[in-house]
């Protein structure tokens, strides 16, 4: 089923480590993201969007294969992708799309230039590389004039640069000396940060409240840096001949703990780490300005949506992924009651079953945590041992087991099945 020449173009822009709430349009007063705000105004944003696995490589492998990490094999950074699993670049290239890639890829055991036409751009640092990535993407959008529909992928690195901040105190690249000078402008420490114990990063060092606040100050500036680059790509599309017939998808691979629960970086199944921004803009087709806080969506749904709009059949074994098309076009559809995120970090393997009001985190031994996201959005009170919530926990286990029935576990992985 090859793509028609009138098939829509796709621009898939992803950033790295952006938390779901690091957006000014979502009432975060500590960050200014005028460009992502424009996307939210022009498209449909999903406020309950979850990473398939809140670590770089696993999340990215899920975007490009439509499968969970316990299926494709990339359960941690640097763990290899199962060779037999096709990716979006291969799939769409052989079905009539011209597929291009610039920026961060980070899927082990799969060379990006064997799946996409590789454009220049990118480095290991957002501060240095993202500008080039945006320039290349913008240049591409201004210049592409072939008949084939295109699938352009743009991988930004920021705000991932915040990872280097945690190298302190061995690496003093963060300017701790500014805590005093900037005190009045620093964002507050997260509500779940324990000021008495402070935080400890994996690299060592004690992070008191003031340092955590400075960390988040840096983090938000990095979000703003990448926001500017996202805006350049979006402007280039809007000013190009492709503006009307292009689906623009924006998301992040995972979030950032930023001192939530006294933790940094990713891998956790708390919302700060696992929940991500997701916005789809498709002029005249996706509803503009709608903020969907009802439907639970996953990073796995992105490839399903892309293939649906491209008019191509799903890749093999995309058994969990659902196209967002009906939601984007505000058409009635039966949607799922839960979404599952996996993680092999932070004491894993474990899985989060995210439901309407509750989230359960289950591990292979059957033990669990349960949070009421509606009343306790900071996930401070574990309700798993409270008999009043046995029903919710039981439902989560049923949903989890249903999920396990639908996926095909990788034959050689340390994962777990039903609980």
């Amino acid at each position: 089923m090859p793509a028609r020449s009138s098939a829509p173009n796709i621009v898939f822009v992803h950033v790295d480590q952006m938390r779901h709430d690091a957006v000014s349009a979502l009432d975060n007063p500590h960050v200014s993201t005028p460009n992502i705000d424009r996307l939210i105004a022009d498209g449909t944003s999903f406020l309950r969007s979850y990473s398939a696995n809140p670590v770089c490589c696993p999340a990215r492998a899920s975007w490009y294969t439509g499968r969970a990490s316990s299926e494709h094999g990339v359960i941690q950074n640097q763990r290899p992708l199962l060779e037999s699993v096709p990716d979006l670049g291969q799939w769409m290239s052989t079905r009539g799309y011209a597929c291009f890639y610039t920026g961060k890829w980070h899927i082990p055991n799969r060379r990006v230039d064997q799946s996409f036409t590789l454009l220049p751009g990118g480095s290991g640092h957002g501060e240095r590389g993202d500008t080039g990535v945006a320039s290349v993407a913008a240049g591409f959008l201004h210049n592409y004039d072939r008949r084939k529909p295109f699938f352009l992928n743009v991988g930004f690195l920021n705000p991932h640069d915040c990872c280097f901040l945690t190298f302190a105190p061995k690496n003093p690249s963060i300017k701790f000396g500014l805590c005093g000078l900037l005190r009045d402008e620093l964002p507050p420490a997260p509500g779940s940060f324990n000021t008495e114990t402070g935080a400890a990063s994996r690299e060592g060092g004690k992070w008191d409240t003031e340092k955590v606040r400075l960390y988040n100050y840096y983090y938000y500036r990095m979000v703003e840096m990448v926001d500017a680059e996202v805006g350049r790509v979006y402007d280039a599309l809007r000013h190009s001949r492709h503006a009307q017939n292009t689906l623009f998808v924006f998301t992040s691979d995972h979030g950032e703990m930023g001192g939530h629960h006294n933790l940094f970086k990713k891998g956790q199944l708390y919302d700060a780490s696992v929940r991500v921004p997701l916005v789809c803009v498709f002029g005249g087709r996706a509803e503009a300005g709608r903020r969907d806080s009802e439907h639970l969506v996953s990073g796995l749904d992105i490839p399903a949506t892309i293939l649906d709009y491209a008019g191509l059949e799903p890749m093999p074994q995309m058994t969990v992924a659902q196209s967002l098309r009906f939601l984007l076009e505000a058409k009635p559809t039966k949607w799922r009651d839960y979404v599952v995120a996996e993680s092999n970090s932070a004491g894993g393997p474990h899985r989060a079953v995210c439901m309407k009001d509750f989230k359960a985190v289950l591990n292979r031994r059957g033990s669990a945590s349960l949070y009421n996201l509606k009343d306790d959005p900071l996930e401070m009170r574990d309700l798993a041992r409270d008999p009043k919530y046995a029903e919710q926990l039981g439902r989560a286990r049923v949903f989890h087991n249903e999920y396990v029935d639908r996926i095909t576990l990788h034959p050689k992985l340390t994962s777990f099945g039903k609980v």
Partner: protein
Amino acid sequence: MKRRDFMAHSIGASLLAFLTGQEVMARASGRPREQTSGGLSALNPVSKYARSYVRPKGVLDASRRQSLTFDVIGWRTGKGRQIVSTPVLGEIIVKRNPLDGAVEYEVTQRLAKTETMTGSFRCLTDRRHSLERWQFEYALNSKRRNIASMSRTRQSGRREGDKIITVTDGAETVSTSSAPLLCRWGLLDAACRMAELCGPDDRFTVLHEPAGLRRDQRFREDRRGALGHGQETSVRTFLQTGPATVPTHWIVDSQGRPLFVSVFLMSLALKAIS
């Protein structure tokens, strides 16, 4: 191995630095400004580079044609996550050309082998060297010609009253702002007056090409300190903050020369004035 790495690591370089007293250490002055730790944190991202840094000869004179050369400095970490080197990633050459009532800066930037930016930036001769108009071309070169043509961005822009008009690859954008519009290259000549730009209400927009305009920026003075062992020079550090700007220090010596623009992962060091 890059030249700077070699210099940083070689025993010969260490010995030379010791003999000539050029090894630089940063010390903060006895005028602490409510800070929680000692030392010039402004220099943190360029710490290794600064140890072998030699200040350039010559003074900046905005009324003359001059060429300023900057190293672009990054840093690398070892297994223990500490900074093991601050390699030179590239070079920026800024040529100043004074005109009647204006100054033009011709900028050539090269990062690694493939990333280039060339442009000209015309500034007024007011105290901030406000940007009047500009044009630049940014490119990431590729061996494949069809790809290379897609990988180029051209932008021109101008200030007209409260309007800032930019044309990027043929597409025009008009934005409105009454704040002063500056560029990094004009600020090099304004560095000698940076203390005057530190008022709490003194906000400005800066062109950070090719990423775009960064609004609501401000300067404030941070610590004073000294650079160097033996032949120490006093420096003032000015902090630039604002949206999309990680804390950025302009480190200015007593002659008003911006020796470092210290950012986070990529900083500048003034290497030569000619």
